[in-house]
Symmetry: C2
Subunit: 314 residues, 2 copies
């Protein structure tokens, strides 16, 4: 499907992808943050590397062919659910898109599309997108958190993305909140991802005797007053607040912006998050930090990736 809305066709655009485990979303983003065209295709899950690269290149071509000829793509950008090795440029640690493990996606995109290509970790991209056009616009020190299948994160420090020495910074989902807690796919135990992700909500619901295969179903039960489901969200929010309280003490941020699909359950967990932060963090930074919901929905990632491309192409 193509949804193309050309408001100012003479502008330069970045072709920006947000690559998820289920869908790949392609957009044409103008320098002012306007999204001028969209294409969404299913991600071929656990297929071959070649099939995945064909899908990605094909999606970009489909986007480009549906755009006005007057639009000039100046770069291609991709938000990826991976660590991007700053040493080699290859993608690492992407359990949701294993076909791209070890692939230099930047080089492939650049060659296939004939454009400068930039990659960004998806949670960092979403944090940057919200900082550019959304909930944390104009705010200098921000922790961005994406609650989805896992728990992702990104950092804005002094107004800029902070990626750390190897580009791996921001892994807020893997702050330990329970030393002998539930085993985590990362190899540790008791990471906050094991209590505050969509996957964790379903698992904790099952442990409480609830038959629900999505976090949404657990949320709906909680809204209907199911005590067990309510307690799942108490636990989910409490552990997220414990992780936040440490980050608030260490980073003294202006804001924490929470996005991702699981943030839709906001009203069932946010009070528990805030209570832990208020009870555990120091007074000044606890009063300072504004814990808010992301405002761009699914567009945060493509906008953040596009922003990086505009900055690097400039």
């Amino acid at each position: 499907m193509i949804d193309s809305e050309l408001t100012n066709p003479s502008d330069n655009v970045v072709l920006a992808l947000d690559l998820g485990g289920t869908n790949a979303r392609f957009t044409a983003v103008r320098r002012d943050g306007e999204i001028l065209a969209r294409v969404r295709v299913p991600t071929p899950g656990h297929g071959s590397t070649a099939a995945m690269l064909d899908t990605i290149a094909g999606g970009f071509e489909q986007l480009r062919s549906g755009m006005s000829a007057e639009l000039l793509p100046i770069a291609v950008a991709a938000a990826v659910p991976a660590t991007i090795s700053s040493a080699t440029g290859v993608l690492e640690q992407l359990p949701n898109v294993p076909a791209l493990e070890g692939v230099d996606l930047r080089a492939v995109l650049s060659e296939r599309l004939g454009l400068k290509a930039v990659l960004e970790n998806d949670a960092t991209a979403a944090t940057l997108g919200e900082h550019w056009m959304g909930a944390s616009k104009g705010i200098d020190n921000v922790i961005g958190v994406t609650l989805g299948t896992g728990v992702g994160g990104g950092l804005i420090i002094d107004g800029k993305a902070y990626r750390g020495k190897d580009g791996t910074a921001g892994e807020i989902g893997h702050v330990c909140v329970e030393p002998e807690g539930h085993p985590c796919g990362c190899g540790s135990r008791g990471c906050v991802e094991q209590y505050s992700s969509g996957t964790a909500i379903v698992r904790m619901a099952l442990e409480a005797g609830i038959d629900a295969d999505t976090p949404l179903k657990v949320y709906e039960l909680a809204k209907q007053g199911d005590e067990r489901a309510i307690l799942v969200f108490v636990k989910m929010g409490r552990y997220l607040g414990i992780a936040f309280s440490g980050l608030v003490n260490v980073l003294n941020p202006d804001a924490i912006v929470i996005g991702g699909g699981v943030s839709a359950g906001w009203d069932m967990f946010i009070e528990h998050v805030r209570r832990e932060v208020n009870e555990r963090a120091f007074r000044d930074p606890a009063e300072r930090v504004n814990i808010v919901r992301a405002s761009l929905g699914e567009d945060a990632g493509v906008l953040g990736a596009a922003l990086v491309a505009f900055e690097r192409a400039a």
Copy 2:
């Protein structure tokens, strides 16, 4: 006592204080980091605010009177065991020097000594000192940790001190590592300070049936092979490593520099710290981070405070 060593008397110096709960250490620091004079006086503990301010001003005067007349003090700097409110400038949260709670020490020093005055949190000052002249010289992204009566911390991000929105950043001692753990003076429970500080070592030793009133005595017992004392350091190092693993995942730093009196027990705890980081943090940032011992000893704080003064006076 005065220990004055004038190697280049024509230089500008900063008069730099490191204010602890037991001693106040005054130094004259040259722009190249050389310490040219030293004075140490006992801190009047829990006396009046006036007595404390007289002690501090008197120490600076004693330092100045013992210095060569050719040395030109351009500023006074103090590393303080407190949060310095960036809004009001007053000192907050200093349990070890309660007489200065709510005092605008910067204004007092400036008026009494007739010099520009700057304040810095002591753990941030120590982190900056090590970054200027010590273990993390030339390294861009550093977590500094001071293991003393409590656990303090400071952050260097992109080569500069990171203080957060209110100047309270770096409170690494108050990362929660055990949600229902030992109550902390900060109001939370299970902060790493409750397991990895000197105070915690003595408490955990007592809990294990050891009669020791200082961390050094617990360390000496551990060195002699006392199993209970060894296990105190296993626990102390394990919890410190759990806190570090989260910080390594979130900040992907080049180095963690550990100083403070309790770092003297290095050989009894460091392997447990490193094990937790290696087992819990992601591979790339865990391999990246260099966990090293601070190299400046007691001079780190005055050097860091002096550095800030040189930068602001420039």
